[in-house]
């Protein structure tokens, strides 16, 4: 074995990254050995919170860059965001999974597996975000796929297994093609950088990317776009996404939408930055704009025919990933700024929506939209929070998503008015679909509720509301006022993205 993986371990001991990567990895191993799922759920929250705390430390003490791992302006905020959503989702999961274990008859060994995989999943995402070596980036995206496949199939129903299998096969092919693209990037870099690790270290490659052979990285980017684009869920490569979101446990839907899609997009953007630094290769913009537009349209039309609440919001994720890809494809400081803001806001709001959806499914006992009625009457607090969350994701002011979508459209309008038309249409179509569906679910004569599980359930329900409200509050604050530091930061990264 070449010593690169072994080198990770001593590296971790001297570096502030230790906590961010080491804690979830250790957690994955430790949680596999905790027999009682209640303890495991609490421990899961504690580890995720500790990971979040150490990710905050990265803000002040930036670790030394190595050829394997690095922290720069771009990935640091995604690391913090991922650790934060990972932590709040762990809290939601602790409240959620107990009741699930009764109604869906999950054996305790399944829950042990679930908690262990949850930490393993966080580890792989954080590793992907902090990876400097594009090979490590690929391996961690692959591992993130594997852990989520295992969690999607958790319920062992026919639908869950079908969804997991479809997800597994389609994304395996996707990441296979991404690896081919990675090899091509290495081949483009190797004559300039020399053999070995330097020709795979992103931070070193980007400095000398101008000398890379342009045709080779153009070809590489096409493979990377199709490969990582499958994981982003860009139409027409999105077939796995709605099933995986709908059939897995709801906390997993939340992190899939809120985090994993971001990580895949992040991987793609890293390569886009290489191409931008090269300057002679193909323009990635039109390709990304095209795929972004097709995702926005496919998703917004599909939204009208959904009868399953989780599938509905899975398609909404495809739409939002399309908006982000579109924004980054447009490029330029303003559109990149909008894309980064949208990435953050979508993470927060979409995971909040899935928290709400999980609680709604537990309260009503159904996923079918026509059977969910009058939530604002039957479960007022949850119902109204859900209304706010859906209005936020649909892009109504004053929430953050309104601001980022407005920025995407206005910056596009300033540069190429015709391109803004499809995005605006897509956003309006989605808005219509979501409001139409929301009306039926939130208002009117209330549908029947599942018999209440007593005080313990009420407590769990209240705990589950905490992350939901926290995410929405952050999105609201961001919509009203972005701190100067954050704005400067987004602007700096926007410049890096080219």
């Amino acid at each position: 074995m070449s010593g690169s993986l072994a080198a990770l371990i001593p590296l971790g001991l001297t570096d502030p990254l230790t906590g961010v990567l080491g804690l979830p990895l250790a957690g994955a191993i430790a949680l596999a050995m905790v027999p009682n799922w209640r303890h495991a759920a609490v421990l899961n929250v504690v580890i995720a919170a500790a990971t979040f705390a150490s990710s905050l430390r990265l803000l002040s003490a930036r670790p030394v860059e190595t050829s394997l791992l690095f922290i720069d302006d771009f990935n640091i905020y995604l690391v913090v965001l991922t650790a934060f959503v990972g932590c709040t989702t762990a809290l939601f999961s602790a409240a959620y999974i107990g009741r699930e274990s009764k109604t869906r008859r999950l054996a305790s060994r399944h829950l042990r597996f679930y908690h262990s995989m949850y930490q393993a999943f966080l580890f792989t995402m954080l590793l992907a975000l902090t990876a400097n070596n594009i090979g490590v980036l690929w391996v961690s995206v692959e591992a993130a796929t594997l852990t989520t496949v295992l969690m999607v199939s958790l319920y062992r129903t026919r639908e869950a297994i079908e969804a997991a299998w479809k997800y597994f096969i389609l994304c395996s092919v996707g990441i296979g093609l991404a690896l081919f693209g990675t090899v091509l990037v290495y081949l483009a870099a190797q004559p300039v950088m020399g053999d070995g690790a330097a020709a795979m270290a992103w931070s070193q490659m980007v400095r000398r990317a101008g000398a890379f052979q342009p045709d080779l990285i153009s070809l590489a980017f096409v493979f990377l776009l199709v490969g990582y684009g499958t994981k982003v869920g860009l139409a027409p490569l999105h077939a796995w996404l709605p099933d995986a979101h709908a059939e897995g446990p709801t906390p997993i839907s939340a992190v899939l939408s809120g985090l994993l899609l971001n990580v895949a997009l992040y991987a793609l953007l890293r390569f886009k930055m290489l191409i931008a630094a090269n300057g002679h290769a193909l323009q990635p913009g039109p390709l990304m704009i095209g795929m972004g537009c097709s995702s926005i349209f496919v998703a917004s039309f599909m939204l009208y025919r959904r009868g399953d609440i989780k599938r509905l919001f899975a398609y909404s994720s495809i739409e939002h990933m399309g908006i982000m890809t579109f924004a980054f494809g447009m490029g330029g400081p303003l559109a990149n700024f909008a894309g980064l803001l949208h990435m953050t806001m979508h993470s927060l709001v979409k995971s909040a929506i899935f928290f709400a959806v999980g609680l709604i499914i537990q309260a009503t006992g159904t996923k079918r939209i026509p059977d969910i009625r009058g939530l604002t009457t039957s479960v007022p607090v949850l119902g109204w929070t859900f209304v706010i969350a859906v209005l936020a994701i649909a892009g109504l002011p004053p929430m953050g998503i309104f601001m980022s979508e407005f920025l995407v459209i206005s910056s596009t309008f300033a540069r190429n008015a015709l391109l803004a038309v499809p995005v605006m249409l897509g956003v309006l179509l989605t808005f219509g679909a979501l409001i139409w569906r929301l009306q039926g679910m939130a208002f009117g004569h209330p549908g029947p509720l599942v018999a209440d599980g007593g005080r313990r359930f009420a407590t769990a329900h209240a705990i589950g509301m905490v992350p939901l409200v926290a995410h929405l509050a952050l999105a609201l604050v961001a919509g009203l006022y972005l701190p100067d530091a954050l704005v400067k930061w987004f602007q700096a990264v926007g410049k890096l993205l080219g």
Binding site: M1, S2, S4, L5, N133, G135, V136, W138, V139, E142, A143, L146, V149, S153, R158, I161, E162, A164, W165, K166, F168, I169, L170, S172, V173, G176, L177, L179, F180, V183, L184, Y186, L187, Q190, P191, G194, D195, G196, A197, A199, M200, Q213, D215, L216, S218, L219, A239, D243, R305, R306, G307, D308, R311, R368
Partner: protein, 229 residues
């Protein structure tokens, strides 16, 4: 171009051998597309993996990169022996149909395959003009194997043949990676892929994914795309 690169051109043994081995791997990909019987498909896959092991070992020798021997060993033991054994066991144990169901006839598939090989040569050779000749040819062959694997996944209906298609796609990727001179992490990547493959086999067994019932068959996707209502 370094002196080592200059040696590795047409007419030199290191180049000719690499080229020959790559071509045999490509032939095996066509064999996979051509076969109608599942046991034969598995046997051809096994042979392809063994030839891949030879390719990795040859590159280890030529590039003087001993870690590639590990890749060769993984290809030989895991992919060449263990995986075919497990697949045969699965086919017997789960009573999977021995004939391959195709979504597209064998003839058209072969023609499409030839087209894909032509496409990869046309795409790869011009863009790698500055790279060493050995890398170029190797990459064109590897990309053909990848695309043929993809074609097999699209045109075959059974879960098992789709998995074989995926594994042969992966053989193409490993061929590309071992051919890229001095590329780090090749061993880790082949381990990561082996885990994927093991998961796929485990999935077939554990979830009893047999033929159309649970596969990625287009006909079946029609019913699953929406919600059952």
């Amino acid at each position: 171009m370094t002196p080592a690169d200059q040696l590795a051109t047409f007419g030199h043994v290191s180049y000719d051998m690499a080229h020959l081995i790559g071509a045999v791997i490509l032939m095996m990909s066509f064999g996979l597309l051509y076969q109608r019987r599942l046991t034969a498909v598995i046997r051809i896959y096994s042979f392809q993996a063994m030839v891949l092991a030879l390719a990795a070992a040859w590159q280890a020798l030529v590039q003087d990169a001993p870690h590639l021997y590990a890749t060769a060993l993984i290809a030989l033991l895991f992919k060449g022996l263990a995986v075919p054994f497990a697949l045969n066991w699965l086919v017997r144990r789960l009573g999977i149909h021995r004939t391959v169901e195709t979504a597209l006839g064998i003839g058209p598939t072969m023609i499409a395959g030839v087209g894909l090989v032509a496409l990869s040569i046309v795409l790869v050779l011009p863009v790698t003009a500055s790279a060493a000749a050995m890398t170029r040819e190797n990459l064109a062959l590897a990309m053909s194997v990848v695309l043929l694997g993809l074609l097999m996944m699209i045109t075959r209906r059974n879960a098992v043949t789709q998995v074989v298609g995926f594994m042969s796609l992966e053989n193409g990727l490993i061929l590309a990676a071992v051919g890229a001179k001095g590329m780090p992490l090749v061993v880790e990547i082949s381990v990561a892929f082996s885990v994927l493959v093991a998961m796929a086999l485990f999935g077939i067994f554990f979830f009893r994914i047999r033929e159309r019932f649970d596969s990625l068959d287009i006909a079946y996707l029609e019913t699953f795309r929406g919600e059952r209502q």
